[in-house]
Amino acid sequence: MENAPDGITNPQSRRGSNMSNIDLILSNLTSISRVMKNLSIRFPQDDAADEYMNSQFKYSLDGGKNHSYAKSNRGLNLHESVEEDYHKAQLDASELKEGLTNDYLPRESHLSIISATEVGCHHPEISFSGNLSVISLHNSESICNTCTSHFKIDFLKGDFNPFRCWRRGNRAGRFGFVYRASLRTHGDKWTLQKTPDMNRISSSNLVLASLRYYLSANKTGLRNVKYIKFKKIDHRLANTMMVVLKISSHVIVENDEVDELKHLLPSQLMVSSHVDMLGKGSKKINFVKLPELLSEIAKGVNGKWTNNSMSNQSNGILSICIIHNKQEDLVKHIEPVLRQTNIVNDSNFSIVESHNISSNVLEEIDGNLAKKEGVSICLILDPIMDIGGDYN
């Protein structure tokens, strides 16, 4: 049950193929977060944290030895005169004190003795919070929980990660990822396209290699890994965490009008045998189920990411953006349902036309949107990670 999805979406509440669609996405998200949590033990989220992480890692390798303390113990010699001992003990005490600030207290790491500002915290309230330690940022009631409401993601400006701290800034570009899943119709159902080209995870080589290893090392992952293509992420998106739900364009174009008519007629108490005939002649698409499925996936992703392995302070999905290319009609179908999920407030919900987004970013999200009609729903995830991974 290692990869069993949890969170808001209860597997038992889902039915049929939708269940497996959502499970696949959530299971992969779980894997991603676990891999990142593991990597965050050894690799810093921010380049400025390199020195800290090296010390922290060395500290753990050494088994938490406090060198200064050990040195002071070795220095004491019971055979020397009492006066000498006293003098030495004084000296050792000062060395120990100095050592504790340089080294770390056993079991605590040195998160307790470095301040929040040192890790780049730029929360508006930081100046009123006194000398807040980094370890206190990791409390469930800390200011990190409200930080997301102060800084907005702006798709049009290409600002996918407005944070600058070690926890959310992810400026080293190691832990950003874009997980793209494609949806298509299968009979009257919408399902996830299980081909490597349609399911792609872009990230740093480090995350991708570790993720591949992680997935291959367990049964569920091994089943999933064959559906996924791994690709190195573009540096513009290297500090963001995003799930993209791509809706295949040709399916929408072919069936849009018939589907719309089918839904309009019953609401006006009208019947058309011609429309029925059209429906029988063309591919039968249950168009109503798409927004429903998207809503369900968004809720699932939000729940999963709120409870991810990297931090228990995650806010799940921070922003939702619908990118489309000449698909206003479909967007109109999707938008209200996604808004109704109340995962994000209106200020974090946006609809953008593909030509307004830089081509490199668009290529990473959905390359086809630049050339073909289509819609992609971007779920921007909270990039928060605990500093030092498992240590805290």
């Binding site: 593991n38 990597l39 033990i41 050894r42 690799f43 090296n54 890692f57 060395k58 753990s60 390798l61 050494d62 088994g63 938490g64 056993p106 079991r107 740093s204 080589n205 480090l206 991708l208 290699a209 570790s210 591949r212 290893y213 992680y214 291959s216 090392a217 791994f230 690709k231 190195k232 498992d390």
Partner: protein, 538 residues
């Protein structure tokens, strides 16, 4: 009475002195290297002088009217030829028996001439001269033979070995085992064991192979064809012979002892390390009593052999080359081309081993072969360190051997390794000696550096390039780090206080260090497959 007592005392002192002098003389005589060749020379020359000078002058001999210049020329050539083939004639019956027959014919002829059994004066001049020339040539040839290295104590020793040692070995059920320079094993019955002494090479050979490629073995058929070393029995038999005999057979026993030591090394390098590596963590007695299954000529034997007396790895000759090559090639006396062929044969042995160990990686033979070499060298260095160390360091080496052995055997399940199209490397013994010393001294630092080196390797290039290798490296880093973190975790104070295990803190420290060392050996093995070890600075 007093005088008698003094007299008796003096007699006693003189007696002791005389006995000591006699003993010294006896020792001197015994230790004297009696060169029997000279006895033969004197005897033969005397015989020839008597026969030719004393008797044939009275008749018309075969030498009458011979052209002096041609006779001298032929005799000189024959003399040189005889001198050169002296050793072969003396040791190889295929050459010596025809020569003896020819000589016997000439003896007969000359005896007949001496008693006037042949009327040589009625022979045509040509025949008489031909006989004369042939006689001179034969004589000169024999002179050449006896002036060469025809016989020596080892030659005699070889005779003694064949006539006195081999029958005793046979009666005690001892056989010989041949581990040839291609790494192939065979059992040789005593009846088929024919040692030949080669004076020029100072070597005993059996069926064209040096004696030190053989070792006496005892095969316990009741215990599932268990093969045990038989060198102790041979040495025990040797000790029952007179000193003069053992001196003559000294070279034979030296070679047999060297052969037994060579078997120990080859058993270690060709069988134990590839197939039962973790057994190297056991004590010497356990290794010597444990058996490993081997197939010889279609039969399944259990081979049990002790470790080499000392894993003295300070010999710089084998530092830069694979040690298996060193021990298999050392005995082969080959030209450069022959040595190249031999190296190819040894590479084939390594490929056979890796194919049986890593059937899933059969397409990566170069990598697996190099991996085997690096692993072999690492295990030898760790075992040597285990032998010479004490306390925690010894324990860390022991556990390292067990861990890295398990890791080595798991390579087959990795699915991939750096391909043969890439340049692969193996870590030399010299490099491992340096790395092991550094790692044992500063495990945390070395671990961190290797961690960074491999992370850099994962991060380089596009992900599509060597995807599976990057995945393996990432898994390796993840596992190594997690292992260290788990073992580095602090235990609550109350649990430590209640722990009944004495010296608990040492054990915790050992466990953490061992987990770090395990990570280091794993990362170094992997790093050696993707980077030149000379470029891996730890």
């Amino acid at each position: 009475m007093g005088r008698v007592r003094v007299l008796l005392q003096k007699i006693s002192e003189y007696s002791i002195m005389i006995i000591e002098k006699c003993k010294k003389f006896s020792d001197w005589v015994t230790s004297f290297d009696l060169n029997v060749v000279w006895l033969n020379r004197v005897f033969l020359l005397l015989l020839v002088t008597y026969i030719l000078g004393g008797l044939t002058n009275s008749i018309i001999g075969p030498f009458d009217g011979l052209d002096v210049a041609s006779a001298l020329t032929f005799s000189f050539i024959s003399l040189i030829a005889g001198h050169l083939v002296s050793g072969i004639v003396a040791n190889d019956s295929r050459t010596s028996i025809p020569l003896f027959l020819v000589t016997l014919i000439f003896y007969g002829l000359f005896i007949l001439l001496t008693v006037r059994g042949i009327e040589l004066h009625i022979w045509p001049e040509v025949y008489r001269q031909l006989l004369g020339h042939l006689s001179i040539c034969l004589l000169a040839f024999w002179c050449g033979i006896i002036s060469g290295n025809m016989k020596s104590p080892p030659w005699m020793g070889n005779l003694l070995f064949k006539q006195h040692i081999l029958p005793v070995l046979k009666s005690r059920g001892i056989k010989f085992m041949h581990w040839n320079s291609d790494g192939v094993l065979s059992i040789v019955e005593i009846e088929d064991f024919h040692p030949i002494w080669f004076e020029d090479e100072d070597m005993v050979k059996v069926n064209g192979s040096q004696l030190d490629e053989y070792s006496p073995v005892q095969i316990d058929e009741k215990n599932g064809l268990l093969i045990n070393p038989g060198i102790k029995q041979v040495l025990q038999i040797m000790s029952t012979f007179p000193p003069l005999w053992t001196t003559s057979m000294k070279r034979h026993f030296e070679l047999l002892e060297a052969g037994s030591e060579r078997f120990s090394w080859l058993n270690l390098l060709q069988l134990l390390i590839p197939y039962k590596p973790s057994s190297l963590a056991q004590d010497r007695y356990s290794i010597a009593t444990n058996a490993i299954g081997i197939d010889i000529e279609g039969l399944r034997y259990r081979f049990s052999w002790p470790l080499p007396d000392g894993l003295n790895l300070s010999d710089t000759n084998h530092h830069s080359k694979p040690i298996l090559h060193y021990f298999l090639e050392t005995n082969s006396n080959l030209s450069i081309i022959g040595r190249d062929n031999k190296t190819q044969d040894i590479i084939d042995i390594e490929k056979d081993i890796t194919n049986s160990l890593f059937p899933r990686l059969s397409s990566k033979q170069k990598s697996t072969t190099f991996l085997l070499r690096s692993f072999t060298h690492l295990l030898l260095v760790l075992r040597q360190e285990m032998d010479i160390s004490k306390g925690s360091r010894k324990e860390q080496c022991r556990r390292s051997i067990i861990d890295v052995s398990q890791y080595f055997q798991s390579f087959d399940f990795m699915g991939d390794l750096p391909g043969d199209n890439q340049q692969a490397f193996f870590v030399s013994m010299e490099k491992w000696i340096m790395w092991v010393e550094q790692s044992l001294s500063q495990p945390a630092t070395v671990f961190l550096r290797l961690h960074d080196i491999l992370s850099e390797e994962i991060n380089s290039g596009h992900f599509d390039e060597n995807t599976s290798i990057k995945q393996i490296l990432a898994g390796l880093l993840m596992n190594c780090t997690n292992l260290v973190i788990e073992n580095a975790a602090f235990r609550p104070k109350d649990r430590i206080e209640n722990d009944i295990i004495a010296n608990f803190s040492t054990e915790v420290g050992n466990k953490r260090t061992v987990s770090m060392l395990s990570g280091i050996w794993r990362m170094l093995l992997m790093a050696s497959l993707i980077r030149n070890p000379e470029e891996v600075v730890i």
